[in-house]
């Protein structure tokens, strides 16, 4: 939803914009170079200009004893949540609806969730990840991570077959929609990495037994079994015809 295809020429445009805005400011220019490949350098710029004074340059928060001091937002993994904060201005934070355009809000929100709130993706243990996945995620996403239906909300937990590792990691911390968020107090970075490892593994598990039938479970197997029964019934007809055509 939040990731849309950028039009061709975006990169050039982005660089031009970057230069235009940042040339006078030396230190942010260095920053821009650092994150050259990132999708939202102007997000960084906006953040540093508008938000850093309250949230700190890394989103770590500032420790002033004033009510407007922004908290640590490094655990905000949900771009929707960040956008909401920027638009509505919760508590003592001002609203930026009249200050920033919609693309700017989006860019700064992405900057917060994907650059300040990154989770180091290393370490972790596959088998432990499997165990954690079964206890924390399988109730909704099913054991094969191919998605499940939640009767109480009517919303489906999606199949995780096509999610990249950073997206999975982000979703675990963020908890989109009816999915609970798993903050570091519940799942440490190490455990989170184990889960991400397992999800990546189960996206392409070894299938020693042949076709997996989409990991749909016994109902799909039942249909396949009935195809077997039908084939055999057709065979009996064929036998009674004397084995001819």
């Amino acid at each position: 939803m939040f990731i849309s295809k950028r039009p061709a020429g975006w990169k050039t445009f982005r660089l031009a914009l970057c230069a235009l805005v940042l040339v006078p400011l030396v230190s942010p220019l260095a920053f821009c170079r650092q994150t050259g490949g990132s999708p939202s350098p102007n997000g960084a710029a906006i953040f540093n200009r508008r938000c850093a004074k309250c949230h700190g340059e890394q989103g770590q928060g500032i420790s002033a004893i004033v009510s407007i001091a922004g908290p640590n937002i490094q655990a905000v993994h949900n771009p929707g949540r960040a956008m909401m904060a920027v638009e509505t201005g919760p508590g003592h934070m001002p609203s930026f609806v009249n200050v920033l355009s919609v693309p700017e809000i989006r860019a700064v929100s992405y900057y917060v969730t994907q650059h300040l709130a990154v989770i180091p993706l290393q370490g972790g243990n596959l088998a432990e990840g499997g165990t954690l996945f079964r206890t924390h995620c399988a109730a909704c996403h099913r054991t094969a991570a191919r998605g499940g239906a939640l009767a109480f909300t009517g919303i489906n937990a999606p199949s995780l077959a096509n999610y990249s590792a950073p997206l999975v990691a982000g979703a675990i911390r963020w908890g989109p929609g009816p999915m609970p968020a798993f903050p570091p107090s519940v799942l440490s970075d190490e455990q989170l990495n184990s889960i991400v490892k397992y999800v990546t593994f189960v996206q392409h598990p070894p299938d020693p037994g042949g076709n997996s039938l989409g990991y749909c479970g016994p109902v799909a197997e039942g249909f396949a079994g009935w195809i077997g029964v039908l084939v055999l019934v057709i065979f009996t007809i064929w036998i009674e015809k004397g084995g001819r055509g």
Partner: protein
């Protein structure tokens, strides 16, 4: 040489005469009379593959740590049962193939029984004098269903653990005797360590022995009563037409055995079934809502999903809602099936012994009823996978469930009405056709009779 050996045995056992008689037995020719044989041969495959599995399966719940080729479970604590299944899948040559064949054979076994029962039902083959075999057959079906449940419940994976919990709570829901029955059966509050060994004993010994005995009885009674046949020229309630057991029938039957084996082997080799390594070991913390059973129990699961959540009190006692769809419904269903021969007698006022079958269209009501019931069961079966449908179609499971709740009544009614109409039509057409055939036959002065058929 062979003749000499034969004579040696015969002079001691005197088998030649009865064998000759047996081989002269006539069995009618029709494909629908071979459906039961598909079940029989799947059972043979089950026994063969099951014996192999029993050499490697360890029906114990002792806890240990897995170390083996399946990386994603390396170092995970699990039951010895589950560990032995993993070893069977990844360590034993052909182990996975045999395991998958065993499971597919179970699905096909019960599927073939259902098709066979349907044939018996729609052609009225359960009528006097075959009520006993109808009951034995139904009992075989019940035994097969329960053994299937035991079979996939003992593996110790997450799915089977969830299934065991469902079975346990279903049994608990029976008013008054539920807790005792559940204790007797599961040996305590599930998950408890004694359940798997207990079910394993039932699965490999008690139930297969019962099935074998009843199967022998079933076949013996068919032998004694002779097989039924479809109505046709020269076929009466006193004769039997068809081919001799030897050689024609034997050849057909052995051919069918190979085909059954081939289909099961093909499924076992090409299509994954019950991939327990994906499910992971059973862990009471890891809840798995929406666990599906194998198809032959899925209709009960579907009924439980569609049944509305209502509280019904019996005096001061609350009857848990799973009791109605989970226990009462299947029990009543089987009671009706068991009593069906009496019901048929009641509506047809016919208590004569029959050896000639009736075509389904001759009994429009019964045929329509049977088809409606099958449609009902089919919708319930689909309902057991409502979550899968919801995810696959991207709709809410609440919507899917609502649609199925409507369909479960509408689809059988529509099916019944359509089938009833078709039966009436085809009864009419057959009556006209017969009239014409008789006219032309009497005009030419001959009666049509089947070719290559032996009458006894």
């Amino acid at each position: 040489m062979i003749r000499r050996i034969g004579r040696w045995f015969d002079s001691r056992l005197h088998l030649a005469q009865p064998a000759r008689e047996a081989l002269n037995h006539v069995f009618p020719d029709h494909w629908s009379f071979m459906l039961g044989e598909i079940a029989l041969y799947s059972f043979v495959v089950l026994i063969i593959t099951g014996s192999f599995l029993a050499m490697f399966f360890n029906g114990s719940t002792a806890h240990l740590i897995y170390h083996g080729p399946y990386r994603a479970l390396d170092g995970v604590e699990m039951s010895a049962a589950y560990q032995s299944v993993l070893h069977l899948c990844f360590g034993v040559p052909a182990g996975l193939l045999i395991r998958q064949m065993h499971h597919w054979a179970a699905l096909i076994f019960i599927g073939a029984i259902v098709v066979h029962v349907a044939r018996i039902f729609f052609t009225g083959a359960f009528r006097r004098p075959r009520e006993i075999n109808w009951w034995i057959g139904l009992t075989l079906l019940v035994l097969a269903l329960s053994n299937g449940y035991f079979g996939y419940s003992i593996l110790g994976d997450l799915l089977s653990g969830a299934g065991m919990r469902i079975g346990y709570s279903m049994m608990l829901s029976i008013p008054i005797i539920g807790p005792w029955l559940a204790f007797l059966f599961f040996g305590g509050r599930v998950p408890v360590d004694v359940t798997i060994p207990r079910m394993y004993g039932l699965h490999i010994f008690v139930v297969p022995a019962a099935i074998s005995v009843l199967l022998a009885l079933h076949l013996g009674i068919i032998w004694r009563q002779k097989h039924t046949n479809y109505p046709g020229p020269g076929r009466t309630d006193h004769t039997i037409t068809g081919s001799r057991i030897w050689p024609t029938y034997t050849a057909k039957s052995i051919g069918l055995f190979f085909l059954v084996f081939a289909v099961i082997a093909a499924l076992g080799a090409l299509v994954q079934i019950d991939p327990v390594w994906i499910y992971g070991p059973y862990d009471p913390i890891a809840i798995l809502p929406g666990a599906q059973p194998d198809w032959y129990l899925a209709w009960v699961e579907g009924a439980m999903r569609l049944f509305p959540g209502v509280n019904i009190y019996l005096g001061p006692y609350l009857i848990p809602e799973v009791f109605f769809p989970g226990i009462l419904f299947p029990v009543l269903f089987f009671i009706v099936l068991y009593l069906y021969p009496f019901f048929d007698k009641f509506i047809t006022h016919d208590n004569q012994p029959h050896h000639v079958l009736r075509h389904p269209y001759e009994q429009p009501f019964q045929t329509a009823l049977g088809c409606a019931v099958f449609m009902f069961l089919f919708v319930l079966f689909v309902a057991a996978g409502d979550d899968v449908i919801a995810v696959a179609t991207g709709t809410s499971v609440v919507t899917i469930r609502l649609i199925l709740r409507i369909l479960v009544f509408v689809a059988p009614a529509v099916t019944g009405i359509i089938v009833y109409g078709l039966c009436i039509l085809s009864r009419h057409r057959h009556a006209r056709g017969l009239e014409r055939a008789l006219e032309s036959a009497s005009a030419e002065g001959r009666l049509i009779s089947g070719e290559n058929e032996v009458t006894q």
